[in-house]
Symmetry: C2
Subunit: 202 residues, 2 copies
DNA sequence: AATTGTTTTAATCAATTGTTTTAATCAAAT
DNA sequence: ATTTGATTAAAACAATTGATTAAAACAATT
């Protein structure tokens, strides 16, 4: 009963602090204080800081990439619609979790191999209806022969980077958090149009 | 003589490790070993880890943003040319320093205020010929009334994010480092065309 | 030759930090 | 009423880590 509860309270506190400060920047006493539990209880539940971190990281990565498969493998939607759904989904996720992208990116830069095994993204993307439709678009002449890596980079860059760089954007433009939030919402509509228009350039 | 030399050897080692692992992820003994000097010497030169870190961070930020002013304030170039020069410059810088962008971004997320004071970017950008030309473009009808923040986000995203996310791109696409390097070079030409084409969308 | 600043060696300090332990308390279930 | 698992309190351990010290060696200058 209260077992599961406390476990989640600790995990919630750990998630926030880990996502904000990273593994090395997080102290176990800090987590215990934030969760308002005794330090001993943290180890009682999770054995060690590293094991707790691994759980948080895995769950974060899963919740970030989980929604990908249903969108990419949907046979009812075309390429254009899939792009819109992807952009909407990720702007929503990242708006609700401002440190999430940075957290995952930093982990990825430190442990790229661990990540690859954790998620079978390679297969997910390659075998998806999305990839199929993209290849068809290229052979059908609708998509130019720009390397697909550019396409992937552009889509992820336009969607994710504004969240990663938001403190810099804030400083340079002086925009408030609310203002930036509205801008992000606008981008749900704009990014699909932009990546579409970029395809006709080479 | 050997004074300046050793100082720079330590700084070089510190720069690499700090940029890769961050402040908390870096140990002074690690820097000393990498610089092949005694731990005592590190404190002899820089007094403390934090002071050394601050120097590295300041120099990194300066070298990253220093080239901005001459490009943005050049009266001989038009807006289009400035974009090309910016993109070229930053792809060159980031190609040579793969961890640089991530390093600055993480610092910015932790200490946004310190950053603002360190560099007068606000003034640099606002008073630049660039800003002037952008405003003229808007009033002249060449640039639509999309919020300029979008423009800033798009330019920085397309240019910087591929370097930040390169490990993920590697895993997903299976592309080699050389391949990604070539892709980045291609983007010097493509990004200016893309941001141009995006302006005609709304 | 003497001086001066640089560097090493080795040891140590004090604080932090992840983890463990022990005893006690509390709440719920049996 | 007793047992059981959850939780706290307090202390302590061992390892890490940033920083300091003292003495000696070294290199270049004067």
């Amino acid at each position: 009963m209260s077992e599961k509860d406390t476990e989640n309270i600790i995990k919630e506190a750990a998630r926030k602090i880990f996502q904000k400060n990273g593994f090395d920047g997080t102290k176990t006493r800090q987590i215990a204080e934030a969760a308002d539990i005794n330090l001993a209880l943290l180890n009682y539940y999770f054995r060690s800081k590293k094991k707790l971190y691994d759980i948080i990281m895995l769950e974060t990565i899963q919740s970030f990439f989980s929604g990908l498969i249903p969108i990419l493998s949907n046979r009812q939607t075309n390429l254009k619609q899939k792009i819109s759904l992807l952009v909407e989904r990720y702007i929503d996720i990242l708006s609700a979790n401002p440190d999430m992208a940075n957290f995952i990116i930093n982990e990825l830069r430190q442990n790229p191999k661990d990540f690859a095994t954790k998620i079978g993204i390679l297969e997910i993307v390659k075998n998806s209806v999305f990839a199929h439709q993209y290849v068809q678009g290229v052979s059908g002449g609708h998509i130019p022969k720009i390397h697909p890596i550019h396409y992937l980079m552009n889509l992820t860059s336009l969607t994710v980077f504004p969240f990663v760089s938001s403190p810099m954007i804030s400083i340079i433009t002086g925009a408030s958090d609310e203002m930036l939030g509205e801008i992000m919402q606008e981008r749900k509509r704009l990014i699909p149009l932009w990546v579409e228009s970029m395809l006709s350039v080479q």
